[in-house]
Symmetry: C2
Subunit: 187 residues, 2 copies
């Protein structure tokens, strides 16, 4: 038998989301989260570099999905390739709407958390732009498309999370892409 219960990291993440949703992020101490997971505060900070990071822990896996999606696109143009990748990510997120809504609710209550999420997405933006460049698109276009693409995705995500039984995320993404196209077509 192991000396400690397994997956302390997973228990910490679960306890954190529950306590944050119940009592609020600021009103919950790391000590309480750690105690709920059956470990020490010090162990919490070994797994997550700060109190906020526990809410963004599994985002790295999602970034990989996103980059793979870009890599497997057909190479039509930068916007279309990114659209394909966003569709793949949308499919990945589709079954987790309630969990994501819960998480979004916690994040929306705190400016620092909102910022952390946006910073993480900005990092993704840079990564996507680099992959687009490697696929042969010019750098300026890659940067711009990555940033605009994420603006579109955030917007679609907001719409998706705002309803419990509306269209799937991918449909919102498609709608937003079409809207942007329409808005800029007259230029």
């Amino acid at each position: 038998m192991a000396r400690w219960a397994e997956d302390a990291r997973g228990r910490l993440a679960a306890s954190a989301l529950e306590l944050f949703a119940e009592r609020g992020f600021a009103a919950t101490t790391v000590d309480e989260v750690a105690a709920a997971a059956g470990v020490t505060q010090r162990t919490f900070f070994r797994h997550f570099r700060d109190k906020e990071e526990v809410l963004f822990a599994d985002d790295d896996r999602l970034l990989q999905v996103l980059l793979d999606g870009v890599g497997r696109a057909e190479g039509e143009d930068a916007e279309a390739d990114l659209g394909h990748a966003l569709a793949v990510v949308s499919a990945e997120l589709e079954p987790r709407r309630e969990q994501l809504r819960r998480r979004a609710g916690v994040i929306a209550t705190d400016v620092a958390l909102t910022g952390r999420e946006l910073a993480k997405q900005a990092g993704w933006t840079a990564a996507v732009a680099q992959v687009l460049q490697e696929r042969g698109y010019p750098g300026t276009q890659a940067d711009l498309m990555a940033q605009v693409g994420f603006a579109v995705f955030r917007n679609a995500m907001d719409r998706w999370l705002s309803q419990s039984d509306g269209p799937p995320l991918a449909a919102h993404v498609e709608q937003c892409r079409a809207d942007v196209g329409a808005a800029f077509r007259s230029r």
Copy 2:
């Protein structure tokens, strides 16, 4: 004669930017910033709600400029109105390129600072979207245009700050708007 030297807030902001740029954000304590400004740590936190906020103090004035810019646009369409407002803001920022570059350098070294800036801009996005709605544009279009508009602006800002003597910020903004139009035209 006053009991204390005037403009403690201004001295704090100046000392903070200098020390952050010199030693790094994390390696500078609030005590040091306060001492450099000739006040106490407690006074620092009376003027700025936390250590980060001192870098974003005068952003609120800029938001007002932005909203006024939208309000004074011609009411052509949402994208054009926002474009007009961004041009006004660009003119306001044009003479401060070096100071903004210095500030951007500090912010880029710290994830939390990056997030704080993005969160602040997200707040602006919401405010702009509301003004656009009040001008009669449908809500979904207003949200989307505000988010995409800021993606465009951030991108233009990056390009502008990356060179010391390139085109003015407003020119970069126009270029980015045209690029987005071209990328989505084929849809």
